[in-house]
Symmetry: C2
Subunit: 358 residues, 2 copies
Amino acid sequence: MPAMTSTAAVEPLFLRACRGERTERTPIWMMRQAGRYLPSYRAVRSKASFLEMCRTPELACEVTLQPIDQFGFDAAILFSDILVTLPPMGLEVAFPEKGPVIAEPVRDRAAIDRLVVPDPVAELPYVMEAVRQIRAGLGGRAPLIGFAGAPFTLVTYAVEGGGSKDYVNTKQLLFGDPRAAHALLEKMADTVAAYLAAQVEAGAQAVQLFDSWAGILSPRDFEEYALRWAKHVIAKLRAHPGVAAARVPIIYFVNGCAPYLDSYATSGADMLGVDWRIDLATVRARVGAKVALQGNLDPGALFLEPDALRVRVEDVLAQGGGVGHVFNLGHGVTPPTNPEHVRVMVETVKARHWSHAA
Amino acid sequence: MPAMTSTAAVEPLFLRACRGERTERTPIWMMRQAGRYLPSYRAVRSKASFLEMCRTPELACEVTLQPIDQFGFDAAILFSDILVTLPPMGLEVAFPEKGPVIAEPVRDRAAIDRLVVPDPVAELPYVMEAVRQIRAGLGGRAPLIGFAGAPFTLVTYAVEGGGSKDYVNTKQLLFGDPRAAHALLEKMADTVAAYLAAQVEAGAQAVQLFDSWAGILSPRDFEEYALRWAKHVIAKLRAHPGVAAARVPIIYFVNGCAPYLDSYATSGADMLGVDWRIDLATVRARVGAKVALQGNLDPGALFLEPDALRVRVEDVLAQGGGVGHVFNLGHGVTPPTNPEHVRVMVETVKARHWSHAA
């Protein structure tokens, strides 16, 4: 297929792996790579609140580029937060140290009906400007990933008013008033689809949908409440001319995906994120060869001594096999992580060259 | 086999199901059935702290019997907390409303070495007395389940100082100093084994080991840090004369078991607890017929209207098939649950009679 060969010759490793291609080495990036484990990030953060960093394109750009400059990751990801779409919908969010707080959570039909589906370009101009500045700052060194919260995960925050231990309020909405739950999910999905399309128009070269809390559902409810609306977002994105023209890869990440692999494989995404609780090889065996996989080193493994860390990194690489695989952690890197261990991980991944038969 | 037939004729449904037998109907109990969803529990709780309730046999007995009296569950479970074993080891625990707090968490080898393996009969006499009073209060209406935290889950509390979002301190111990982690796990395991044996000697007719947080581990770490030490407890219990003589069923419950089914099946327990994130039929297909299963309705499903609730209860019953199955929730019942919906669940389970071919 000459067309594919030609594409493979010019596209970055990361984008080729997203498309399921064989790559001469496995590309790597890391969830929360622009984060508190980095001294240079903490230096910026000491002068601005988390929200100010999100809302100031120059600062968002600066911290987005830091891990690219320092470790040579194969992809950059926009510095932002999945909850930035909530205020334009009508839900104010605060970000104290202990985690996000929504003072007036959404728990009934009236509150859901008051929410709007905003125009993301008009309401979140700072995000689009950050995307443009990051693309310029990258200068082609690495592709830029845009992202958003998946509809179900955004609903958990909106309903609980923040994180939760048992998600009782969410369950009360889903099971006590399923129609209202779906009305809220639809507003989230339409907002997220428009928001990700706007990021692509501003320059994002791939997009990731984070379903951080979809793992609290039974298999049937995962399909009904999480997957259904993630598919809605993915289908809308596929139909967007800019996304379609650039063949922008869509990544869907469900944290705690192990129970749902059969349905997860049907999401329509180009690549599925895999958390650390399940072996990548198990996931590949279940989802088949049609979808790329991203993951899945336990973020805690970065606390291992370098030699033991390398063994685990090699194991994930071997399971990925250099075909349709992007190396990543199975969840975000944690603040006490030693940056030198991150360097060991990146160097181990980059040292592994695949000699695929043509 | 006349012996089995004879046993089946005299033993309670719950114990027979634990042993993997066919039962004419599926027995039911519910995790946290003595809990805040019950007005009669809240009445007791309004006059005593949680810890006072645990430490006062008369109160523990009273609330243990409430759900038996009110709903006719097929098993009672000791009212207590998995953390009661920590203070005799040398770790003080407080129970404010927002969850348990260990003011001086265990994070290094020196702190681990200071912990002792206590004599549970001498150190936790109030638990043994509660068991005796409950057995007397039950008068044979239902068997009594004793319980303890599994070693890994107790380690997470001891190390984090309470609950956690990302278990970073636990991961730092496991990966930063694996030998120290195993030393701590061994002390927990020896404590728990002795504690459960003492509960059996006091009258508990089955025991459940709660591994509430084993689901934060990768498959290899689940085997290394959670399953290995749960097996240690189970093997010690099997070797205990009182446990062996009475053939006391051992139940092992891992919350979030879906990624580990193959190794979970090797625990040595008579029955495995299954959380709501995976279908019971999937678990049965993977673990085979040699182990009984307990679960697994989503506690959130109790927020459904009665008709929809009945459909979900029937679905779990059908997946269990009336062979080696104890109906339960997939996790503890939540405080806002309507007790009348609990009644609907119990009545639905009890109305389902199995006409097994002989």
